[in-house]
């Protein structure tokens, strides 16, 4: 029992560390690599849950996370960045230090919140949910503090990593939901890819700031 807890804690904790690393990293290729690492950790965590909870269909989700988010998407984005000539350095809206401190604050907040609320649940669930919420909030923070469309996409995908972690932590959640979450990742990427490509057609970079000159609100 303790073994099971230790391993899942290890994997989820490393995912959290990866989320922080995503926050401070400012080179695009490094961001992609760390995201791939986080996806691989996710697939390991899901696989472990599948083993301990004895729900073999979770292995499918694990495999999907590994192949799609761990390998295919980072490679595809890598190629796209090279082809489109996207800026290799990512600018941050707020400085790295402040972003990291915000990240720490959000993590503490989510831990406090979930621990307080799930007093009656079992330890796996509480832990998984707390760390998952932290990863979700950090993913959102990454989306907010970045100036480059590709890293915003990565931020969103790391948010979904957190969601999948939460879903597997909740014991017994039916297969329908898991497959659909994975399915949505697929579609989301398709949309993204189409987007980034289209964005590239119109501007010289994928910098969101360039997009914002087309502010619609005063129209």
């Amino acid at each position: 029992m303790n073994h099971a807890y230790d391993v899942s804690h290890l994997l989820a904790g490393l995912m959290l560390v990866a989320s922080f690393a995503l926050l401070y990293q400012d080179r695009i290729f490094a961001v992609l690599n760390i995201f791939a690492a986080q996806a691989i950790l996710l697939s390991m965590a899901v696989g472990w849950e599948a083993w301990t909870q004895q729900r073999p269909h979770l292995f499918i989700t694990a495999a999907l996370a590994l192949c799609l988010k761990g390998i295919i998407i980072p490679v595809a984005l890598h190629k796209m960045i090279v082809r489109l000539g996207v800026h290799r350095d990512v600018e941050q809206v707020v400085g790295v230090g402040k972003t990291l401190l915000l990240g720490l604050a959000l993590t503490s907040l989510s831990l406090m919140l979930v621990l307080k609320i799930t007093v009656a649940a079992d330890s796996f669930t509480r832990e998984g949910l707390a760390l998952a919420l932290a990863i979700i909030l950090l993913g959102m923070l990454m989306m907010i503090t970045r100036r480059n469309a590709v890293t915003q996409i990565v931020g969103f995908m790391s948010l979904e990593n957190g969601l999948i972690l939460a879903a597997t932590g909740a014991r017994g959640m039916p297969l329908v939901v898991e497959v659909s979450v994975a399915f949505s990742v697929l579609i989301a990427l398709f949309v993204f890819a189409v987007f980034v490509f289209r964005i590239r057609e119109r501007f010289d970079s994928v910098d969101i700031e360039a997009l914002e000159h087309v502010r619609g609100d005063t129209k």
């Binding site: 904790g13 560390v17 401070y24 230090g97 503490s108 509480r126 707390a130």
Partner: protein, 321 residues
């Protein structure tokens, strides 16, 4: 009565052991660096020779130096030696067990650092000023991280007393924990910063742009310099012993065991020191020194790791109770 005598004896041995071993550790580090660079390198006992040479020489002091300048080296050596003597090395449960509190340790080291910084500024040279201000900047960032690491261990073991933490880690079935790994990384970064090692500071440099620790002690000579060098070497031993005690306490003799266990513990301890010194040497030749402005980021990383370690340790504790 007999027991207290044994414990007192053990504590005394520990005190002198660290003192004797410290220059050798620095020697091993330098030798490792040299061999990586395909040089012969000085023999391992060279630091001893350097210390003896310095003690014999006359101490030249600037005219406008104050009493602080003259007395600081003694105080610095005293503080550092006390701190190094308290960290459990080959056995826990020795005579001054109750005083070996991690927070007290941080305070002692802080006091030593403050004195050194003041002494650096005392003579009024610009080198000293630069060194002191940089040292203080590094300390401002490194101490919180160190304290957080201490607190993480306290959360895990339930106490801040180092011997008891070591015993807890030996006895309790603590498996791989992310929080401990993160705390280890944070502590290593802090150790590098505090000991003025690459990538924070270069111990072998005398270029103004890159000096921190060396800049502060530039004015010292003779026996004063010997004491400060000794203190720096003791600090290195202290940090390596601290890391070994907190994270790798295998082989350490638990409380209430006899001299046989102590011998085993001493062997383990010396082995750990040697390995740590060699790893430090290898690390130093494989990494470049950072710009001073980036040291903040580096130590900020240590802070983040330590904070995460505490959060995760807190989470584990809450969830498993």
């Amino acid at each position: 009565m007999e027991e207290t005598l044994t414990l007192l004896f053990g504590q005394t041995i520990q005190m002198f052991l660290v003192l004797l071993v410290a220059p050798a550790i620095t020697g091993i580090t330098r030798r490792t660096k040299a061999s990586f660079m395909r040089r012969q390198g000085a023999p391992i006992i060279q630091p001893y020779r350097d210390l003896i040479k310095l003690v014999r020489k006359e101490s030249v002091i600037a005219e406008n130096a104050s009493w602080l300048f003259r007395s600081a080296p003694y105080a610095i050596l005293a503080f550092t030696w006390v701190a190094a003597a308290l960290v459990p090395t080959f056995a826990s449960g020795l005579m001054f067990n109750w005083a070996a509190d991690a927070v007290a340790l941080v305070a002692l080291l802080g006091a030593a650092r403050a004195l050194l910084a003041l002494a650096g500024m005392d003579v009024g040279t610009s080198f000293g000023g630069i060194g002191s201000s940089r040292e203080m900047m590094i300390a401002t960032l490194a101490e919180p991280a160190m304290l957080l690491v201490v607190l993480t261990m306290a959360l895990t073991a339930g106490t801040t007393r180092l011997p008891e933490v070591a015993e807890f880690l030996i006895s309790a079935p603590v498996t791989v924990r992310v929080s401990l790994a993160l705390a280890l990384v944070a502590l290593v970064i802090v150790a590098l910063a505090e000991n003025a090692r690459i990538p924070v500071d270069n111990p072998a440099t005398h270029l103004e742009l890159t000096m921190v620790h060396e800049a502060m002690v530039l004015e010292y000579s003779g026996r004063h310099l010997a004491m400060i060098e000794m203190a720096a070497q003791l600090k290195l031993v202290l940090y390596i012993s601290l890391i070994a005690c907190l994270f790798l306490p295998f082989g350490m003799a638990p409380a209430n065991t006899g001299p046989a266990a102590w011998l085993l513990g001493a062997a383990a301890y010396l082995a750990k020191l040697g390995i740590g010194a060699m790893m430090l040497g290898a690390w130093e030749v494989s990494i470049a020194k950072m710009r001073v402005f980036r040291v903040g980021e580096f130590l900020g990383g240590a802070f983040v790791f330590a904070f995460l370690a505490i959060l995760l340790a807190f989470l584990t504790r809450e969830v498993l109770n």
